[in-house]
Amino acid sequence: MTELRTPISEEAIRALKVGDIVSINGTAVTARDAAHKYMVESWIESEPSGEDKELRTTLKPILSGGIIYHCGPVVNQDESGKWHFIAAGPTTSSREEPYEHKVIKAFGVRAVIGKGGMGDKTLAACGEFGAVYLHAVGGAATLIAQNVEEVEAVYKTEFGLPEAFWQIRVKDFQCVVTMDSHGGSLHKDVLSQSRGKYNEMFGG
């Protein structure tokens, strides 16, 4: 098992190959549908001002060499106002395919955690900018929440709690590399093998 600690260097990413198991320590930021649309439209494809600019300035150093986690957690706020993760498995990543390559390029994100894999644009960005896609076990929400040591901050709760940016500190969060920076994708391989078997079944 390889340990990844944020901020992650390009060298550490280039050393990873599809099938490697990694253990993550450090800071990650959750972002799913609304957050990805927002990052691209308000931070990357236009010059932000006011609160949007402020938030970009806050998150930029965390995203640089950092980790985006596709996750909409179940959270609980205690009496002191502190948030806690109760259940926090990955959500389906393919919905972020139109956005992720732009986010990787703009911020130098080194790892994207999710489930189900992503497409060619993200795979190309992993190769070009030195990033990996890490697969967590979908649905393993209570278990993964135990790896979240602390909720450091939350932004954009107006997107709804599942869609907000949750800045979290994780410990020993285990994932499998399923897309690497050398063009390897387990998802592409399994898709082509299973489609091949389907065609054999029906004589296609």
Binding site: T91, K115, G139, I144, L161, E163, H187, V190, S194, M201
Partner: protein
């Protein structure tokens, strides 16, 4: 008109149990799937993680999956119980369950994008009533259907040119297994497929969804469909997609199929993909007692 004492509290318990404990048949199917996987494979490790998560969620009374999905209540009731009273009670229970973190706030206005924050909204939660001929017995079946798996549902209209799938059982096989290939790991397999052959666009999906929560050991009374269920599960597992799409032996935990008459012009095959976190529980009121199964 009759009422059920403490219905909100009972419904809240039904939601807690459904969100935090998986049915036994699914748990044993996952365990036997794990035994079939190669030692040291990603498929095996995934199923071990899934089992650990199931045990932990049950002990801690926290959601098995953070996507607590669309709450769907299927109610069977005698003629003299008012459905409005039940609808109000289930809606309140859903709101309380959200405060208690058994459910994630999941109801989003499709036009404004605003999350209502309490799991209620237009047609949310989904509640369906069926009147039956039993007196003084009410059955409430709750399904929590996650979005990731729901997105992997599909409806084909036969004939379907791209697969050369005709209006016969061979065409039906082709489209069902095509969707298993399309879904890959995105819907959190290993999955249970619920299928309806025929019906109209709406009834097809509704019937397929009800099939997806039939107990796994349950044998289809129609021998043709019983054989088809077995065949689809075997062929689906032969595709090698495996848990989470990592490759492996366990792609489907089971397949459940029903049929509905169709008009001559239409031939739909509706497929519901149910993730391994197939959360469903039943609450029964009988002779003044409540029980959960």
């Amino acid at each position: 008109m009759k009422t059920i004492p403490d219905l909100v509290e009972h419904a809240l318990e039904l939601i807690r149990l459904t969100s935090t404990k998986l049915p036994d048949d699914i748990v044993s199917a996952l365990k036997s799937g794990r035994k079939k996987e190669t030692t040291g494979s990603a498929a095996e490790a995934t199923l071990v993680t899934i089992e650990t998560n199931i045990e932990m969620a049950s002990e801690m009374s926290t959601p098995i999956c953070q996507d607590t999905g669309t709450p769907l209540f299927y109610v069977k009731h005698p003629w003299d119980y008012p459905t409005r009273m039940m609808r109000e009670a289930f809606t309140s229970a859903v709101q309380i369950a959200t405060e208690k973190n058994y459910l994630r706030p999941n109801a989003v206005d499709s036009v404004t994008g605003k999350n209502s924050g309490d799991n209620t909204g237009d047609h949310f939660p989904a509640i369906y009533f069926d009147q039956w001929d039993r007196d003084d017995e009410i059955e409430v079946r709750l399904m929590l259907k996650g979005g990731g798996s729901e997105n992997q549902g599909a409806q084909y209209s036969l004939p379907y040119g791209p697969l050369d799938a005709g209006r016969d059982m061979d065409g039906v096989r082709k489209v069902i297994l095509d969707q298993v290939v399309n879904a890959q790991g995105q819907g959190c397999g290993p999955a249970v497929l619920g299928v309806c052959i025929g019906g109209d666009r709406a009834s097809g999906y509704a019937l397929a969804k009800k099939q997806s929560i039939r107990p796994l050991e349950d044998v289809n009374p129609d021998p043709v469909l019983a054989d088809l269920e077995k065949e689809i599960t075997e062929k689906g597992n032969h595709l090698g997609i495996g848990p989470m799409g990592f490759g492996g032996e366990t792609t489907l935990l089971g397949t459940k199929i029903t049929k509905a008459h169709r008009v001559p012009a239409s031939f739909f095959v509706s497929i519901i993909y149910m993730c391994w976190a197939a959360r469903q529980k039943t609450m029964t009121f009988k002779n003044g007692e409540v029980s959960y199964d």
